[in-house]
Symmetry: D2
Subunit: 308 residues, 4 copies
Amino acid sequence: MSMTGVLRPGHAAIRVLDLEQGVNFYKNVLGLLETGRDNQGRVYFKAWDERDHNSLVIRQADRPGIDFFAFKVQSKAVLEKLDADLKAYGVTTERIPAGEMLHTGERVRFKIPTGHLIELYAEKTDVGNGMPYVNPETWVPDLKGIAPVRMDHCLLYGGDIDATRKLFEEVLGFSLVERILMEDGKTDLAIWLTCSIKAHDIAFVRHPEDGKLHHVSFLLESWEQVLKAADLMSMNRVSIDMGPTRHGVTRGTTIYAFDPSGNRFETFCGGYQWYPDMQPITWTFDNVGAGVFYHDRKLNPAFLAVVT
Amino acid sequence: MSMTGVLRPGHAAIRVLDLEQGVNFYKNVLGLLETGRDNQGRVYFKAWDERDHNSLVIRQADRPGIDFFAFKVQSKAVLEKLDADLKAYGVTTERIPAGEMLHTGERVRFKIPTGHLIELYAEKTDVGNGMPYVNPETWVPDLKGIAPVRMDHCLLYGGDIDATRKLFEEVLGFSLVERILMEDGKTDLAIWLTCSIKAHDIAFVRHPEDGKLHHVSFLLESWEQVLKAADLMSMNRVSIDMGPTRHGVTRGTTIYAFDPSGNRFETFCGGYQWYPDMQPITWTFDNVGAGVFYHDRKLNPAFLAVVT
Amino acid sequence: MSMTGVLRPGHAAIRVLDLEQGVNFYKNVLGLLETGRDNQGRVYFKAWDERDHNSLVIRQADRPGIDFFAFKVQSKAVLEKLDADLKAYGVTTERIPAGEMLHTGERVRFKIPTGHLIELYAEKTDVGNGMPYVNPETWVPDLKGIAPVRMDHCLLYGGDIDATRKLFEEVLGFSLVERILMEDGKTDLAIWLTCSIKAHDIAFVRHPEDGKLHHVSFLLESWEQVLKAADLMSMNRVSIDMGPTRHGVTRGTTIYAFDPSGNRFETFCGGYQWYPDMQPITWTFDNVGAGVFYHDRKLNPAFLAVVT
Amino acid sequence: MSMTGVLRPGHAAIRVLDLEQGVNFYKNVLGLLETGRDNQGRVYFKAWDERDHNSLVIRQADRPGIDFFAFKVQSKAVLEKLDADLKAYGVTTERIPAGEMLHTGERVRFKIPTGHLIELYAEKTDVGNGMPYVNPETWVPDLKGIAPVRMDHCLLYGGDIDATRKLFEEVLGFSLVERILMEDGKTDLAIWLTCSIKAHDIAFVRHPEDGKLHHVSFLLESWEQVLKAADLMSMNRVSIDMGPTRHGVTRGTTIYAFDPSGNRFETFCGGYQWYPDMQPITWTFDNVGAGVFYHDRKLNPAFLAVVT
């Protein structure tokens, strides 16, 4: 197999301040499909073109933020191997039994040096993308809201992004795609990592407080869909942080905005295909603005400051 | 590593009837960059966003068609392993020394059951994509012609696509993404295979004559670029076979057209991301039209008949 | 006023073979809004961004085709003046009383030399575009189907297009924007006329039989919407005549397809802005293919032959 | 004629601080075509799809801003009539002889109540759009820079926009398309006026100082071209004021940015078609943000403050 080990981002578990307000937002404004609710009160969503049962889970809490972020791996054998590799690397792992999340197999959970809980799992029910595996159409009409194609990646903030990068590279098989350097010209301010040929599957920014969420990102299919997303955000009075614009990093086009609880999310499109024979792209500190927001070539104040 | 083994399509070697006519077409109309000529009279091209020295090579001959199609692999160690695996599988391989093609390392060449010559290699000079690895811009202005992002895949016609599929799956680590069945409901008429998360890296159609080329395909970044490509084809009196339209298979938007020597090429955009936990999508024979040309839902006469 | 006299195409009255099949098509596939039914059994539709009550009216009949096509004029005074001008020009006009069509004022109806019934009217109820005149949003979400912005123009086939052109120019104030010449290099095969700065508000093709409809055309906002329209046609098994492609004439991007009764319609986007200081663009007979279908540079057989 | 009187914006005369810097910007970054230089040292430009000799004229001066803005009228007879109408209305007019501007006929110049010089003229040499009137292609390849289709409109700042509006409506035949009200709910803060079916041909904002320029605007053909424009601005280190975004007013998508002398310009796309049977759209003061920048629903500080 050429795609091996960790496949892709699988689910993000997010805290919202008001559950029904959150459900309304993620269903009717972002346009995910609600796929279930569990006896812990969590509500499950998937993007329309995802086949697995869920990719976003929300629960009500007294502060926003992220509980955990998970990757799907190739098989149960790979899950066992990665669990062993993590332990061998010195990482404490925990097993969450199958079924603890709806339609989701056993999960291996561990804390990374930036303080976030990451999970691996091999099984989630294929509930389909609304089109059959035989003679499908090309998309599903009459979707509500922004209707992204899939949950694509997240950007997390925490202290020791160096050790986190090392863990993702050495144990989980991720590769460094792009980096922004700090003023010293050596230390990473931010790193973008991939486990596939996508320009990023997860990213980290160095930040004094551990375990913080910058954004969960959802994939759109065109720049015109990015415009439609911005229009729908305006119609629904969603607070836009930045965009529509383009990132220098990954070249993707993007909007950052906030859910009703203050969690930032991204709707984005594009970005180049990465292969492991590429060198990482490096942004020096004086170009951090262009790296993050390519058109304005400067950061907006919220980018570094506002996280949940 | 999560991307292992075979990375991606690397180069296609095409025969043209008139070299300078071919050079003019691939440079000024398709908009590739000419990167060199060798002492065999071959001319080398790359697409602007490719970093390796070449992805298309043309030579003058008395009939059009494809000489060989190559994949880049992860490393020299992988190259050695795959060569050994091929031999163990019963495939005769040949070594082409480094430098036989400009800026290209040693190649392992072998004939597949459909009669085509396939090559693997691990090294090709990174000549860059016109932008530095440090603080790059997002694209290169003032390109000529259609200017695709990269050479993406090819579709080959030959007899024993079953054995070819088995070889690509069992030795080279490819996966079946989509298939079109023949009237018997069992035999594959066409197969799409991937070595990454792209919906296809190579495809085959069952055909009475071995070793034939249906098309080499070049990636564009948007449906608007597909329109621009069609406009430029008209301005340059390029013979369009079909499109702009959409494929049902892969969902990509597309134009098929012919180079001045009669070799079909494709300029396309889009298609979903494939992961190995998906089942293959199957098109039954009565839906072959929709699978190939989604809008018209019928084949044009040339699709099955015209190959080089 | 700089826009005076005839404002724009106002309504098209089309015959369908099965009323409810037609209603379903125009409402759910083309995505017009049904705005009423009258006691003659006619069903009224408008496009979402039109403010007037109706722009398409269908009735059941034993053969498809067009009953009449109408233009809205600036005021009742203009209506009276144009009626007088028509009579002075030798055209017999008929008055259809206000209310004969729902929410539509008095109409002046007359037959043009190509055998079609044309109407002028000054009043149709502004029922709005789903957004208020005060602090509107920019579009209306959750529309069904293709959802064009407006009914834009029609192309009619008939014998004496020279006299029809003369009448539109000399009495109604239209201008010739583009023309395709016949093999003699002098006679018009086709003419495109405007009453605004649109590249066309009505067009005619010379044809042995009078009073025929080639297509009624609906405006989309982008080439991506043209793709979405083609996709929806495929999903709904609409018979596509040609496209997505581009016209040389007007430069618009386009799809021609057929309603369930065999009436051709167009969904299109784009085209340049015309001003009366431009000369008409002329297409010679050897370039008729490029004029009609710019990418293929040849007519499809149905373009000249299939009308209703 | 249905399009009568004033046809469209014809030319804008802009002051720059450094002529060659300005020439480089308007030619290589904005992508206009330089069409001439006169013995006053003025440099003339046109957008590629304009047929008339010039639409932008720049001269070197010690402060940026606009010298005059002109409209082309239908004929010399219309020019004479409008001059007479202006005088009858109490406006002092001046005749600028033919040839004072290159390839431009006699101009009627007058000062409007907001302190700006407006010109009317009937003749400017049709130098073509790079494509013949017979069998043209659909666009011109290998253009440099942003390459807008045409100079489209301008937004001017001055005191008495009420009297200016009255003059444009009552003498020049313009119509009010949209307005933003001040806090009193009665007074216009801003007005958008058209002389065609475009959503605006000129606009005014109430401002303490007369004769100021907010921006000259250039038309692009798609939202993707707006993205490309923003990318090129970044590559050329153009200072972007706002965008890519959408206006609520006119619904157009837009970028505001500054030329090297500090004159704001706009590259925009879209907007609805206006007809005189529409009521003006009104934005109340509490919605001024959404009217100007639809996505953020708030003004940026520069919008009202920075003019030249």
